[in-house]
Symmetry: C2
Subunit: 363 residues, 2 copies
């Protein structure tokens, strides 16, 4: 059962599943609109806990905690795509959950996601299911090398992935990803990686932010530049794809679509790599570089409020502060026009996103 | 005793006295920098309580609550100038209080404040002390009519003021302001009202935001426009005055100086009307119209961090949503480029600041 959502009053309470930096920035944006948030997360030191008065420190499958959480809030949303299906179902029987939990079912599984994207007539890298080690050889024969073997579930920031090049031992890759249900994808020699953050309202209005161009380091996003250095027609195509995906999901909230730009013969073309049913790191630039942020847009959508028309303020460059890089934040604090965002995380860890910096330049 | 302040670590806790919208926006800006806040306010429904995890609901002179508050925080600041002197003194013996409590002693009393400004060689409206009814007639004779009789303490948004024009009964004005120690000020036929928000760091660096031009309605700020439509030399003079005031106070944090522009014969000149030792409504435009907001600048200063160099993003116009005006917020939600800020206050009341909207236009 899904409960229909209605526009929230300004004193309503939005429940957020997940207490990381995305939940934190969602809560801060909700506060700018006068809305309250209640954050549920199992981690006692969740950085989103510090910016709200209402917190529930509980496991995602703790039914009695979920019950109290549902009682307290007017709508539920989430900051990460790996919300357990039973959590989403349990909450959706009590309060509106936006985006709809069926989106999670699709995007939590790379094979289901890619098949679904393909069914919309949208290009992805060629892929094949690998349910067991013995399916790997025929999949490799079909896809060719180099190829990337990825776990179907729970991958992020390059975790659960192994590249199989000519001469590589395929079985080693299978063991490396934990010998679990996987998908084999053709390795795409892309020209660049781009992403589109799109928002869709309860009324079905969609609005895209400008296309970001993303640079990864060690499989973690390092820099996003907006606008992406792509022809206008390709940017339109990318926005069109994100919009079609949001519409096909009957999505409410903000969604990000990561894409590869490939030099397909003469004209460059776009291929979808991944869908993130949530606000996305490549949209952080909107906090400073746009009249409305992706976080506010998501809150407006799940609150049943109208979306804002994004007006970009210039050319934006967002740099993630990862792990110990945050210790060099002092140098950023005095760069004129640089906006520093720190997430208040209790401990520096390798690969952990500690903050980001956005610079907006005149075009 | 004043305890010296040191630069805060990113996981430090800033104590904020006062739980209104200014405290709320300070806490939100602190969160963007990864800093935590603890808000102390006697009002149970304080809107700043909703955006922090640590709250103390207690009277400002509740010593045991202040003690616990001081224990929990690394530095104390305030969102309003009427913090009781004994509160500031009590806290300053335990933790750094910034801006220094001596600033409060000066700015809480209009007579002391105006005398102090005059002692710096900065122009104000002519004024005279009125300690009792019998001092009113000689003060009126000295200042002339029209004049404005103001209580020395606890005035804001036009409260505690009465204008005495030709033919008006002076004693009625004295009764109107509550027959209490007052100051009589010459009525200034100003051309426009402007304000300068200045930040000063622990190291003594000062940085001004651009001059705002302010329009009041029923003694409450209604619109601020930036930059003010004044000659560059006058804007420089205004910023210079604000800087001198901040330096004379050895101020740490953000300070606002309200001024009148008067057509003094040929050249327009500036006269200081009032000092607000805190972030100020006429600086709200900086949240959207500038690379750094007045709130972040204040937090950086009291945290002992370097100030940011403000880069204005365009011509800004900030409109307050006062009382029932907030009910028309829907129309603002869809204006392209308009940034809506609601304060999450529990009840609409006449004259209550419920939110504001900023629009930034290309110059």
């Amino acid at each position: 059962m899904t409960i229909a959502a209605r526009p929230l009053d300004p004193d309503a309470i939005i429940g957020i599943l997940g207490g990381g930096q995305l939940g934190r920035m969602l809560a801060l944006s909700a506060a700018s609109l006068g809305l309250k948030c209640h954050v549920l997360c199992p981690e006692p030191l969740s950085c989103a806990f510090d910016v709200v008065r209402r917190v529930t420190e509980a496991d995602y499958v703790d039914k009695s905690a979920l019950d109290r959480f549902a009682d307290d809030v007017d709508v539920v949303t989430y900051e990460f795509e790996n919300v357990p299906a039973e959590t989403a179902t349990f909450l959706a029987a009590r309060k509106p959950v936006l985006p709809d939990p069926q989106v999670l079912a699709t995007t939590q599984d790379r094979l289901v996601e890619k098949s679904w994207i393909t069914s919309l007539g949208i290009a992805t890298a060629p892929f094949a299911p690998v349910g067991s080690l013995k399916e790997l050889a025929p999949a490799l024969a079909a896809i060719g090398r180099p190829a990337v073997l990825k776990t179907r579930r729970f991958g992020y920031d390059g975790k659960g992935q192994a590249t199989i090049r000519t001469g590589d031992d395929a079985e080693a890759a299978w063991q490396e990803i934990g010998a679990q249900p996987a998908i084999l994808e053709a390795f795409i020699p892309f020209e660049r990686e781009i992403s589109v953050v799109v928002a869709r309202s309860i009324d079905g209005e969609t609005l895209c932010f400008d296309v970001a161009e993303n640079e990864h380091r060690d499989h973690i996003l390092k820099v996003s530049r907006v606008p992406a250095a792509v022809p206008a027609a390709l940017a339109d195509e990318a926005r069109g794809i994100a919009t079609r995906i949001a519409e096909a999901f009957d999505y409410v909230g903000v969604l990000a679509v990561e894409m590869f730009v490939v030099a397909d013969g003469a004209a460059p073309a776009v291929m979808v790599n991944e869908i993130a049913p949530r606000v996305h790191n490549s949209g952080h630039w909107t906090l400073d570089g746009c009249s409305v942020s992706q976080f506010e847009q998501h809150i407006r959508a799940v609150a049943g409020w109208p979306l804002a028309t994004p007006v970009r303020r210039g050319r934006a460059e967002m740099v993630n502060l990862i792990g110990a890089e945050v210790e060099a934040v002092d140098k950023w604090l005095t760069v004129p026009g640089a906006s520093v965002h720190l997430y208040g995380k209790p401990a520096v860890r390798d690969g952990r996103k500690m903050g980001h910096v956005t610079q907006v330049f005149e075009e």
